[in-house]
């Protein structure tokens, strides 16, 4: 193997092994930051050793063994220090003899719980959202600082800083390395889900940068979601989130036109939807619903996405069901944008007049005052009702609100076209 081939192989091994390695070590040393440093030390040792010795048959065990040795060394050193301070030399050897086998036993346990603890720790509310995202991708996704920086278009030192600070915060706040129980579990789980969905959305509709879809980041999020579903298979919302991500990811290919323009859902070439991901998404949705999660926010959104996925043509879309799902979502997580979506769904299901009624109720909503999609939707409904003068004014207003040149042109075109059909 050439040096660069070995390097790529080590990258791949790291991707597969790092999370379990860090999780196992974190349980041992009770400190996620220290665990990551120990794991990194083992990686450095591998990078030094493997190009010459070749990659061992069981690289995961090699890395764990190396990291464990360092942990044991560290423990011994600390213990020695402790001893010196306390001047209690007698029991030293007996304690060491006891502690080392315990470490072995501890590390051979099932790693599933460790991974779960690691996820909950990385997404702990004591950290900022950015820190949670960076730490999760780093500790569980196996991404390097450079990869995270590229994904979120921030300078690498910023990400490095964020991670260092996050680890310090966790340690100073003495965040226990554990899976929360009872009522706390739900709140903490929703933080984990939020972080994963945030990563997904950054890939699905990037907020900045050259590409507006970054499928690699969607893949990272999907992978984290699937890992989580494997760890807590009885939590409906986890399957709901996985379903939502699989279904949305199934459309990645169809969302962008040949010249780079975004293609709206109803205009997409459904032949380009990824049927494998749709099947997986629908299966995950079924699991979420079977577990009683039908009313959870992610499961509801997945159910919405599923309505589109099941329709072979836009005309086959079950708008009545979509309108009902939006209503449920609107009750669960009320927001003017959800309400506007509901208005559109209602207009598709029950006609433009019914939709317009809901849109008009949003006109006084201050958060939508400069939101061009409100007059845009309203213009569309007015045009369908034959109220062309009003429609034209709405399209013009929408055009004046959008910051996007391409979209402004389109809206002005619609304004010009808003005249009674010539006889």
């Amino acid at each position: 193997m050439t040096a660069s081939a070995t390097q790529r192989a080590i990258d791949a091994i790291w991707r597969i092994e790092s999370a379990r390695l860090i999780a196992g070590l974190a349980r041992l040393v009770r400190d996620v930051g220290l665990a990551e440093e120990l794991a990194q030390d083992a990686l450095v040792a591998a990078l030094e050793r493997w190009p010459e010795s070749g990659i061992p048959d069981n690289p995961g065990a090699w890395l764990m063994g190396t990291a464990k040795h360092r942990a044991v060394d560290l423990f011994r050193r600390n213990k020695l220090l402790e001893r010196k301070h306390e001047e209690l030399g007698h029991e030293l050897e007996a304690q060491q003899a006891r502690s080392v086998p315990d470490l072995d036993a501890a590390l051979d346990d099932d790693v599933g719980d460790d991974l779960l603890r690691l996820m909950f720790t990385a997404c702990h509310p004591v950290l900022s959202t950015e820190a949670r995202v960076a730490l999760t991708l780093r500790l569980l996704g196996g991404l390097t600082t450079g990869e995270i920086a590229r994904a979120f278009l921030v300078p690498e030192p910023t990400v490095a800083q964020r991670i260092v600070r996050a680890k310090r915060t966790l340690s100073e706040a003495r965040v226990p390395f554990e899976v929360p129980r009872g009522a706390e579990l739900e709140a903490r789980l929703s933080s984990v889900l939020q972080v994963i969905y945030l990563v997904f959305n950054e890939g699905y509709s990037a907020t900045a940068g050259e590409d507006w879809v970054r499928p690699a980041l969607c893949e990272d999020a999907l992978r984290l979601g699937r890992i989580l579903a494997g760890l807590v298979p009885k939590e409906p919302e986890v399957h709901g989130l996985v379903a939502l991500m699989e279904l949305q990811a199934s459309r990645l290919r169809a969302r962008v036109g040949p010249s780079g323009e975004p293609v709206l859902l109803l205009d997409q070439n459904r032949g380009r939807w990824d049927q494998l991901l749709i099947r997986r998404g629908l299966a995950a949705l079924e699991r979420a619903e079977a577990l009683g999660g039908a009313r959870g926010p992610y499961t509801l959104q997945a159910a919405l996405a599923a309505c589109h996925a099941r329709a072979r043509t836009p005309a086959e879309t079950d708008w009545v069901r979509i309108a009902a799902l939006y209503e449920a979502l609107s009750q669960l997580t009320p927001s003017p944008v959800v309400e506007l979506n509901r208005a559109v769904a209602v207009s598709m299901a029950f006609g433009p007049a019914a939709g317009l009624e809901l849109v008009d109720a949003l006109l006084s909503e201050r958060s939508l005052a400069d939101y061009h999609l409100l007059p845009s939707v309203r213009g569309d409904l007015l045009a369908k009702l034959g109220r062309f003068d009003e429609a034209r004014a709405e399209f013009e207003r929408a055009a004046s609100l959008t910051h996007n040149e391409r979209e402004r042109k389109l809206l002005l075109e619609r304004a010009r076209a808003s005249v009674p059909p010539s006889t």
Binding site: L224, V256, L264
Partner: protein, 144 residues
């Protein structure tokens, strides 16, 4: 990226020898690992080629040829579809696979699947992205 992992057939798999209980349980564990790592998208084992057929195309003519087929090494006995970051990662996962055909020489082939990165477009001005971000919020129902 996605890879199709092809398990090549052997004399045993072609004569319909079923995997032993040990192998089945080892493979089950391995599959579980793949699922828990978020890597496995799909996978199936295939019956021997004796139960299959081939349709040959030549100058507009279609000829059906029934199995079994002779060139065992070129046949496959099963496949997985994986989502991983690199070919190297696929290789590392395959190396962790239990020997699929114990007692005989066998081979697993790794082939990349065409997919969506190929058409991830450029947006030099960043404008389109902003539009996309806004459109997204409504794209679940109807655009405008």
């Amino acid at each position: 990226m996605r890879f199709m992992i092809l398990i090549k057939a052997t004399k045993d798999s072609e004569t319909g020898v079923l995997p032993s209980t040990e192998l089945l349980s080892a493979m089950g564990k391995y599959n579980e690992e793949l699922v828990k790592a978020g890597v496995l998208l799909a996978g199936e084992g295939l019956h021997p080629s004796a139960k299959g057929a081939r349709v040959k195309f030549s100058g507009g003519k279609r000829t059906v040829v029934d199995g079994p087929f002779a060139e065992t090494k070129e046949l496959i006995a099963g496949f997985w579809l994986w989502q991983v970051k690199s070919k190297e990662e696929a290789i590392e996962w395959v190396k962790r696979c239990p020997d699929p055909m114990p007692g005989t020489e066998s081979e697993i082939e790794i082939r990349q699947v065409f997919e969506s990165e190929d058409f991830a477009p450029n947006d030099p001005t960043g404008e389109l992205m902003e539009k996309e971000r806004q459109l997204r919020e409504l794209s679940e129902s109807k655009g405008r």
